[in-house]
């Protein structure tokens, strides 16, 4: 599978979860995040400042679009014949193309494309994640921590769009921790 936007909050978890299920994972990120992407277990890394994965001839069974933008037909080109494209996020253009056009494009041929919807959590999935965390198969990549009083700074930083893993807000410690 390929994850476009593998270095942010969603991507760093997606890579590790996919690896824990035995997938061969290609991560797409920029130069500054190549080493980090390798360190969390990706098999292949594509630096999007150097290479366009939609034009290198590779085909993937599953593409998770987390960040950035590629036209929906470019993603389609990078899918294997029975491949599936799951849109999670990215630029507004990516979202507003994938949401309405995914189901339409899926009617042609056997490739499936669509928006995952807004993530919901349920206890069953959370238990799977808990077990992965306890087994050390998934470990959060934490970029920065900000105290509660600096939430504005934290969001200003996150909005720049280049977080390396998660941005965390910490709340004052107390004795009963």
């Amino acid at each position: 599978m390929l994850i476009n936007g593998a270095s942010g909050g969603v991507g760093t978890f997606a890579v590790q979860i996919a690896k824990s299920f035995g997938a061969e994972v290609t991560a797409v990120c920029s130069t500054r995040n190549v080493d980090m992407a390798r360190s969390i277990g990706t098999d292949h890394v594509i630096d999007y400042t150097q290479e366009d994965f939609t034009r290198n001839g590779q085909r993937y069974d599953l593409i998770l679009a987390v960040n950035g933008y590629h036209p929906i037909l470019a993603y389609r080109r990078a899918l294997s014949p029975m491949g599936m494209y799951v849109l999670a996020g990215g630029s507004m253009a990516q979202i507003f193309q994938g949401m309405p056009l995914g189901p339409l494009v899926s009617r042609i041929g056997s490739k499936k494309m669509g928006f995952m919807g807004i993530a919901t959590t349920n206890q069953k999935d959370l238990v799977v994640i808990k077990e992965l965390l306890e087994a050390g198969k998934v470990a959060p990549v934490i970029d920065r921590c900000y105290p509660l009083s600096e939430v504005a700074e934290a969001l200003r930083y996150l909005e720049e769009g280049h977080a390396k893993g998660k941005v965390v807000i910490t709340v004052e410690r107390s004795a009963d921790r």
């Binding site: 909050g9 996020g89 507004m92 993530a119 919901t120 959590t121 959370l126 900000y146 509660l148 009083s149 939430v151 504005a152 700074e153 934290a154 969001l155 200003r156 996150l158 909005e159 998660k166 941005v167 965390v168 807000i169 910490t170 709340v171 004052e172 410690r173 107390s174 009963d176 921790r177």
Partner: protein
Amino acid sequence: MKAIVRTAYGSPDVLQLKEVEKPAPNDGEVLVKIHAASANPVDYHRMRGLPFLVRLVYGPARADGLLKLREWRLGTDIAGRVESVGNNVTKFQPKDRFSPDKRC
């Protein structure tokens, strides 16, 4: 308790750290003492009310407070411990470690 509150959509400057009243858990609810939370893109979308679709969900909110935001606090995922539980809560008790999605 302390909370980050806002009364309007806008840049991070709309966020204020305030002392607010600690809520009591209603039936079927738990009160969680938060140790850490994460910042997510959805937080700045809700903060700015952008894209505009966000305002259909959370209300139009004007700076003069004439139209109130339905949700005036931000935040998505949390980790902490249960502080107290409301009536009819059987699965959780105080001191349990708790990490849901806020909507859970």
